[in-house]
Symmetry: C2
Subunit: 122 residues, 2 copies
């Protein structure tokens, strides 16, 4: 069973963290057939943490967990911190397949999305 | 003539700012017919600033400038700082139409983009 874990940086501003969890809820509404288990998690400053999010996915019955970094830039969070957490989690749960998706900013659809937003303002 | 100004937060890490300018270049490759003028600008920590970016668009011949905030959350940067800068710029250039697009995180295409990124990792 596939799980999707949306991972954001986390903010001291509760509203920002709430927006990430709202996005997680929207994902549930749109792709629950493909990903029956969907949770959100935060790298820092907010809960649940990424290890807690992965653990929750597995507790819900996941055999594959796709971790999706909701980050714009390929800074050290994306290139080092999140991969290191995933590697540790993979060691902890060797029977579970934990896959790391590319971060949001690297999406091939980004250009299309930006043009669409610009056009809506015209 | 339409201009598109992609506005990011700006980072102390040059590579992050460079990624935004690369994205601006990609936008030029994809929608130069609709937006013959495309520039990038930063709210803080990097150049060009948003007022400089708007000025450059106008110097290039823009009559309409769409400002597109490359931000994930609707924090004070998106709700207060960028709109205040746009308002000042609109007063400075009353003959130019300066329009503020919704920020990246509010795009209706975000869900589709995230699902696509997740699927590519599967």
């Amino acid at each position: 069973m596939n799980a999707l874990l949306l991972v954001a940086h986390g903010s001291r501003r509760p509203q920002s963290n709430h927006e990430v969890l709202l996005l997680t809820q929207k994902l549930k509404n749109h792709c629950s057939q493909q990903y029956p288990i969907i949770h959100g998690a935060f790298l820092e400053l907010a809960d649940p943490t990424i290890p807690d999010g992965i653990q929750q996915c597995i507790a819900d019955g996941a055999t594959t967990v796709v971790v999706l970094p909701y980050f714009l830039n390929s800074g050290s969070h994306v290139t080092q911190d999140v991969p290191a957490i995933i590697e540790t989690a993979q060691s902890t749960y060797p029977m579970i397949e934990i896959k790391l998706a590319q971060h949001l900013g690297a999406s091939e659809m980004m250009i299309e999305l930006l043009i669409s937003s610009a056009n809506q303002a015209m």
